[in-house]
Amino acid sequence: MDISVTLRGQTHDLALKNPVLTASGTFGCGLEFAPYGDLKSLGGIVVKGISLLPREGNPCPRVVETAAGMLNAVGLQNDGVEDFCAHKLPSLPWRDTPIIANIYAASADEFADLAARLNVEDGVAALEINVSCPNVAKGGVLFGQDPTLAAAVTSAVRKAAPRKHVMVKLSPNVTDIALMAKSVEEAGADSVSCINTLLGMAVDLRLRRPKLANVLGGLSGPAIKPVALRCVWQIVQAVHIPVVGVGGIVNAHDALEFILAGAHAVQIGSGNFMRPDCAFAVAAQLSAACEEIGITSMEELRGTLQNGSALQCKHTATA
């Protein structure tokens, strides 16, 4: 079965052999997972967030397991864009699978510099703008929570990277995520991915201390899937650009639920920690899962969610 999809952007399309991508920050640069599956079998690889200069991130502990999820406050530790271009990108199978660089910066100008640097790399198919990482007090939260700032960053990256598909990863920590999506669409985004982590915290009752050194962290994992589905559904109705669903997807059925809600593609995040072959397994099992529910392409399912409860629909169908 052909499960390829194309993210038709305003400026650039992004063709994917299947709709299963990895989520930034959960898949390293990709090579960490090469022992557990064929990287070329994935729809795309979204690499760990990259900044212009190396970043140390936050102090430890910076990850903690919670019920059906986890909190992280890694704080975008990375070796910087030059290290990525020189040492990691050349080892990735970029001719066979799109590599999507997740980018983080503290200002629109810095975003533009970073985007311009990656624009010249043939191995990078698309940029995913991180306007929503909740861990870095100076940047992410502000961009991702203000439609005007998010638009300014999108527009800066769009101009600086004319060769690349530009995806914007949205934060759920806003009042109206559809408004944010509309704003970045107007600023030239080719697609949006949603959601980034939900701001949360965990405490140790005995020690009377937060479990993360940063106190606050981003919640991910199966616990956030309903929130992610809701966000995808709301955004799909507000914009014309493709939406990539992220949040708690651990199997092919989860992935198809997001397609049903209107997503063009999905990203596997914390699932990669549950099993290092999770993303590979979702990609491999998608065709069978489609057959199981009686569809022959992603288009047939995408956005076909009926109104009302499943029970009511069933009654209508039999009436």
Binding site: F33, P35, N72, M274
Partner: protein, 300 residues
Amino acid sequence: MCRARRAFDLSGAEPLLTEGQSSIYTACMQSKPILSRLPALELTPFGPAGPEGEYRFFALRLPRPGWESWRPGQFLMLRPAAFGLELPWARPFSICHTTARCLICFFQVCGRGTRRMAQLKHGEEVNVWGPLGNGFAVEPDSQTLLLAGGMGIVPFVGYVNAHPKPWNTSMLFGHREPLQCYPVDNIHEYIPLDSLRETRHGELDNFIFTLNERMRDCAEQNGLVLACGPLPFLQTVRKFAKELKARTQISLENTMACGVGACLGCVTRTSDAWPTPEKRGGLVQACRQGPVFWADQVKL
């Protein structure tokens, strides 16, 4: 009912290496990690049962994964299918021991995950990925002092079993729980083992004194010190290693989500002695560059 014991059956066990093969270790051979779906074979409780009849220490026997080889000190990630969506993370464990057919994983119940593991039934599915990380140094002809704190004893079961000249090694073991909670007989079978139990205030000082003495003896013969245990224990070992100029490796047990280098949860800071200049004073991952580090190369 299972009977508590302090050694698991190693019949059919074969040393990982014979004497002539010891160069394989120094060549730092890395076996590619794999993901295996395994049925739990047997859960053997160790130590006395608690007031409710519950055990807290177990040897979990699994079929041996298709690993080409592994090095003592390496670890695996283990996640029973029964964790479901509720417990998303696998748990990291030192590789305790392997035989031709079996993999032994030794654990203490200390949280939600290990509590669930203590209920594993025969045939229940367990996902295991490994072998991961680097492993301890093996210098067959050096006097080798093994320092274990509590559950830090686990990787040394495999170590003494694989060592080409175990008569050159000895162990000092500090623990709080009764001795029969730990797989000491599987070590004592090969090498001399001195154990000190801390039950009262003041006994820790005695252990620290002995630790210092033993490390001093080892350092004077330019021996190798290997340590595994809780962080305060490793901090003490690291301090003595510096004072006594003892060549010392320590195995860290940092919290980690993935074990493969992606989550960046297990990072530790390097010192000025780290081999690559650009990483000095920076962060390295315990799961990939460790979990075993030369004590002078990291800060704790």
